[in-house]
Amino acid sequence: VIKNYLLCSFAPEIAKEREASVEEKARIQDVIRNLAENLRERLEKLAAATSRYLGMPMINPSISNAAWADDTTTVIALRNADLIGGTADATTEGWLKNRLVGEAVGEFFFGSASNPFRGNTLLLPKGWENVLTSGDSTEE
C-alpha cells in the first residue's frame, strides 16, 4: 500500500504503466480464452515446458516445436495472436512472447496464487522481444 502510494504520488507515469499492464494482462487472458481448445492446450504445454527453466541462469528459453506444438498452423495461429515468438519458418522452436504474456499465460493456466511466471526475469521484457534476434542479425 505504501509503495503504491509513493508511485501514485511521485511516479504517476509508472503507476499508469502498471495499470496498463494489468489491463493488457486481462486482454491477453481474453485472447487465450477465445482460442480454440487445441491451441489452448498447446499453449499450456509451451508454458509448462518454459516454466521448467525458471530459476536457471538463462533468458528467453526456446522450446522445440516437437515438444509442444502439433503442426505449424498451431505455431502460426499463436504467433498471430501475439502470444509466442518463434523462428521465422515456424517449424523449429517457439517461446512465450514476453514477460507480460508469460504472466498472463501463467495466471490463466496455473491460477493467480501459483503463477510461476509472476515477476519472472526468465522471459524478455515487453518491447525488448527482438533484442536477441536483432543482435544476431546485426552480427550476420
Partner: protein
C-alpha cells in the same frame, strides 16, 4: 519553524536535479548498507540477474544521482553489503545569533535506506559512511548484529525495479508538496521500524506498521469531509439530536453541535480503510506471499495447526514466531483474529464485505506484508 521533518532526502535530491549553472557541487558520499535478502535489479535483462555481472548494480546512475551497488561477493551471498553513492550538499542555516554548516549525509542515507527497505520488504541496516569527498572513512556506528538464529533464516532474493526506485526519487526531487513527501517518508520510516523490530517485539512492530498506514491515511484524507450521520461512533447520539432538533429554534444549535463533534473526530479508522481500499494492489490478496505463506482469513481451517497455535498462545514465554522444522507455524483464522485488534479486524471485514469477493489473505506479523 517548518513542521516538516523527513525532508533531507528531498532536500538533497532537489539540489541534485537542479540544472542551474550556479548550483553548488555536492560532496561525493559512499555509505554502506547491509541487507538480509539478496537484492537485484528486476528491470535488467540478464541470463542470471542474481549472479552475473549485472547483479553488481541495483540502481545504476551517473555521478550526479543515487547509485546502489553490491560490494560483497558473491553478489547473492547473505548478508549482502551494499553501497549507496550520491553527492551530498552542504546545508547552511543562518540564525540571528549563530549559523551552522552541516552535511546531512546520515539523514539522507537513512531516508534512502527506509525507501529501499520498503521496496525490498527487508530492513536494510545502515553500516555507516565509508568514503567522503573521495577519502576513505571508518566510523564506529553502534550497529548490533541480530542474534545468530535470526540471521540464519533463509530469505528469498528480493527484486528491486530500478526504474521504479529512480522514478520515485526523481518524483520526490521534483515535487513541491512538502507535506506529502513528509507523510510518505514518515510512513516509510515507520514501516522500516516495524520490520526492524518485528522478530524481537511483534507488538511494537504491529503498532509501527499500523501507524505507517494511519500516517498516510491522515495526510491523504486530510481535507475529506465525513458526514455526522454516516459516522458509526455517533449512532447512539443521533436519535437524541434528532429529537432535540424538533424543538423550536434548536435546529441550528443541533447542526452546530454536530459540526463541533465532527471537528474533534480524526476518523482515522475510516481513513485507514479508505486508504487500503484505494491503494491496495489489484492482485495483492489473490497471490501467495513469497516471504510468509501463512493462511489466514478465508483459508481452509486446519484443526491440528489451530490446536498447535492455541497451545503456543497459552505457553508462557513461547516465541510464536520461532521457526520449527524450517517453516513458520500455521495460524488459523481464529488465531489471526486474536492478533488483529478489534478495530483493524472490523476494517478488514468491512473491506471484504464491501468488495463482495472472498479472499485468501496472507497476514504476517513477524516481518512485513501486513496489507
Amino acid at each position: 519553524v517548518p513542521k516538516v521533518s523527513n525532508m533531507s532526502l528531498a532536500w538533497n535530491t532537489r539540489r541534485l536535479m537542479d540544472t542551474s549553472t550556479d548550483r553548488p557541487t555536492g560532496q561525493p558520499v559512499e555509505y554502506h548498507l547491509l541487507s538480509g535478502r539478496a537484492l537485484y535489479d528486476a528491470a535488467t535483462i540478464s541470463h542470471d540477474p542474481l549472479r552475473s555481472g549485472t547483479a553488481e548494480w541495483i540502481l545504476h546512475a551517473d555521478q550526479d544521482f543515487y547509485s546502489v551497488s553490491v560490494v560483497s561477493r558473491p553478489f547473492d551471498a547473505l548478508p549482502q553489503e551494499l553501497c549507496v553513492s550520491f553527492p551530498c550538499f552542504v546545508k547552511r542555516t543562518e540564525g540571528k545569533v549563530a549559523s551552522s554548516v552541516i552535511i546531512p549525509l546520515d539523514d539522507v542515507a537513512f531516508e534512502f535506506a527506509a525507501l529501499l527497505s520498503l521496496l525490498a520488504r527487508e530492513p536494510i541496516t545502515l553500516l555507516g559512511l565509508r568514503r567522503l569527498a573521495n577519502r576513505p572513512i571508518t566510523n564506529q556506528y553502534p550497529y548490533i548484529p541480530p542474534p545468530q538464529d535470526v540471521r540464519r533464516l533463509p530469505r528469498p532474493p528480493s527484486p528491486i525495479d530500478s526504474r521504479e526506485l529512480r522514478a520515485i526519487l526523481e518524483g520526490i526531487g521534483r515535487s513541491t508538496d512538502d507535506e506529502t513527501i513528509d507523510a510518505a517518508l514518515a510512513a516509510a520510516k515507520l514501516y522500516y521500524a516495524g520490520l526492524s523490530i518485528a522478530r524481537f517485539d511483534p507488538s511494537g512492530a504491529y503498532v509501527s506498521l499500523v501507524s505507517a498506514i494511519e500516517c498516510l491515511a491522515g495526510h491523504h484524507y486530510k481535507a475529506r469531509k465525513f458526514l455526522f450521520d454516516q459516522t458509526p461512533k455517533f449512532e447512539g447520539l443521533r436519535p437524541i439530536l434528532d429529537k432535540l432538533s424538533t424543538l423550536p429554534g434548536a435546529q441550528n444549535l443541533v447542526e452546530q453541535c454536530k459540526n463541533e463533534l465532527m471537528k474533534q473526530e480524526h476518523l482515522i479508522k475510516s481513513k485507514f480503510r479508505l486508504l487500503i481500499a484505494e491503494f491496495i494492489p489489484e492482485d495483492f490478496l489473490l497471490t501467495t506471499d513469497q516471504l510468509y505463506q501463512i493462511p489466514a482469513v478465508g483459508a481452509p481451517r486446519d484443526k491440528a495447526a489451530s490446536q498447535k497455535a492455541s497451545a503456543m498462545l497459552t505457553t508462557p514465554g513461547h516465541n510464536m514466531f520461532t521457526r520449527e522444522s524450517g517453516s513458520l507455524p500455521t495460524l488459523s483464522s481464529g488465531y489471526t483474529r486474536m492478533l488483529l485488534s478489534k478495530r483493524l479486524w472490523r476494517s478488514l471485514k468491512g473491506y471484504l464485505v464491501r468488495t463482495g469477493r472472498s479472499f485468501r489473505l496472507s497476514f504476517g506479523l513477524n516481518g512485513s506484508r501486513i496489507w
